[in-house]
């Protein structure tokens, strides 16, 4: 079966420092994947490359059945073809209500003219309602998102990601700063999403990764060190040396 995203032989260096070194990675259309690795392993840079924020020095990033090359496309275009990204720090539009945040993210024509004359249709409102209940913010729709708690902001951002209806979700440390109960809810949302689309989760917390019950890719110094089930990689000697052993 063909892969949704195929990253092959990608390298990028910043001022001589090789952040990503001949990295290859691929993920199928409905798959959950966790990426772990020590600080500086290149996890965030990897996401930057896929979403168009950073241009790699070499290598290719191919997308979908048509194997479209993503390198050289701008961030907005990559987002429109179906790659959604959640940042490490929750970034929502704090001066706007939860409703406005979600409505802005709901998949619709993004050109200035059609946005200017946009009137929310019933299906848009229904989608906002459905997402709000999925992320547990149904009764907070009118609140400014800046007032939400840290965990609620993280969920709102995941909700905005889902509203874009992407085929691939890149999620950077979704559980950071969450309580245990919030973490469980986050796991449920991500698992649900992975039934219909590809989800890549970057995470430090091993317990959280274990709960995702998915294939794990270990990055180290910009390339893949090991790949497989969590139990498999945690028994890998290299992984123990560079990551778990410390």
């Amino acid at each position: 079966m063909s892969q949704l995203l195929e990253v092959s032989g990608v390298s990028v260096s910043f001022d001589g420092f090789k952040a990503i070194n001949n990295l290859s990675f691929s993920i199928g259309p409905a798959e959950m994947r966790a990426i772990i690795g020590p600080n500086g392993a290149g996890k965030t840079t990897f996401m930057d490359i896929v979403t168009g924020k950073t241009k790699p020095d070499e290598g290719s990033v191919l997308w979908g059945d048509m194997s479209k090359n993503l390198i050289g496309m701008n961030e907005a275009k990559i987002a429109r073809i179906g790659i959604g990204r959640k940042f490490q720090r929750p970034t929502v539009f704090e001066d706007q209500s939860v409703f406005e945040n979600l409505l802005m993210a709901v998949k619709n024509d993004r050109s200035p003219w059609s946005v200017l004359f946009f009137k929310p249709k019933f299906k848009d409102l229904a989608k906002v309602e459905a997402l709000a209940s999925e992320i547990g913010l149904s009764d907070q729709l009118e609140r400014k998102s800046g007032e939400l708690s840290h965990g609620q902001k993280q969920w709102l951002e995941i909700g905005m990601l889902l509203a874009q209806d992407p085929q691939l979700l890149l999620v950077d440390e979704p559980a950071a700063g969450m309580t245990l109960g919030e973490r469980e809810h986050t796991t449920d949302i991500l698992k649900e999403a992975a039934k219909t689309r590809a989800v890549v989760v970057v995470e430090h917390d091993m317990d959280f990764v274990r709960r995702l019950e998915c294939k794990v890719t270990v990055l180290h110094e910009g390339s893949v060190l090991a790949e497989g089930s969590l139990d498999h990689v945690t028994q890998n000697k290299d992984v123990i040396d560079v990551y778990l052993g410390r």
Binding site: T51, N74, E75, A76, K77, A79, R80, G84, R85, F87, T91, V92, F93, E94, D95, Q96, E100, L103, M104, A105, R110, S111, P112, V115, L116, F118, K119, P120, K144, G146, E147, M160, Q164
Partner: protein
Amino acid sequence: MDFLKKYPSLPAFIATLLIFTLAVTFLSEAYGTGAISTSFVKTLGKTLCLALVAISMDLVWGYTGILSLGHFAFFGLGGYMIGMWLMFARTKLIVVESMAAADIPATALEIKDAVGTQIFGVVGSSDFPLVWMFAHSFWAQIALVVLVPGLLALVFGWLAFRSRVTGVYLSILTQAMTLALSLYLFQNDSGLRGNNGLSGLQNLPGLDAVSQDAVSIWFFWASAFALLVTYLIANFVVSGKFGSVIRGIRDDEARVRFLGYSVEGFKLFVFVLTAIIAGIGGALYYPQAGIINPAEIAPIASIYLAVWVAIGGRGRIYGAVIGAGVVSLVSTYFTGGQAPNINLGFYTIKWVDWWQVLLGLSFVLVTLFAPKGIGGLFDLISGRLSPDRKGAPLGPDQGSLREEEAEQ
């Protein structure tokens, strides 16, 4: 009712503008008691145009977070475009009239040459430069009022936004644009009469019989109407999803990009729209001022524009209107020599000199202590509060809304 909920300040604004317009009309020399002099009617009409361009500044700065310090260039260009027709048409009427007395009827070419000598004699020329190509046609020049500022904004904005120039660098670039334009126009061979500018614009061609008393009121009405339409357009633009997107760009443009919106496209859209609004404002302003010259689009003019919006309260459209109105009227009072000098014994404060110091000081004080500006006074009445964010602004970007400016 839904409509009023969406635009809460609209009825109050329309009512205020209507009452103001009627009051001025019934106190004017042409249609009323004459309590307000014609020159003051013109000042008020000009103030309405400045409020109009302040709205465009608020859209581009207060809502989209682009601190453009070049919007007066578009204002001035609008004025130049209408000024060309006014000057050409009126000069032609005068020339034709004086030539009609001659024995042999003048040919079209002779008339054209005579008009050219009249207009360009002051810069030592008599030929019409290429830019005056459409000056004979009222409708063509009206179209240029919109097209010239719009195209300049389109080209400038496309280059600047595509390179992702933001923040203070963009402000400097816009200053450079307006400075370059004004220096170019200062040249005698720019084709727009150099530092003489275009003059006599208060005289409408073919309406010599109508006194300035009446003309001033007509322009006042036109300015009030244009302000109203601009206000409605601005409210429409900022209220819906478009408003959400541009406020998102103001607070965190990278996030908007990752949502799939073309940030550059939206910035360009707002930049061009506001340039066009500014151009229309200029086209209404300069016939009331009577004269336009390159000094009008000096960099300082655009900085004043930002000061008005800041003092009025950015990020709210009526704030921009209030800021432009109050500051420019107070400025007229102080610089017009009406304010009494203050004699301190050892030094006399002459307001003509000290007004700018006062303005600068109030700008600093407003920025530091009352970021909501004069518009914030309405929050005191309506009981709107700012969020308690311990000083944190609402987004990572430079232009983002500050805690004090936001609504809880």
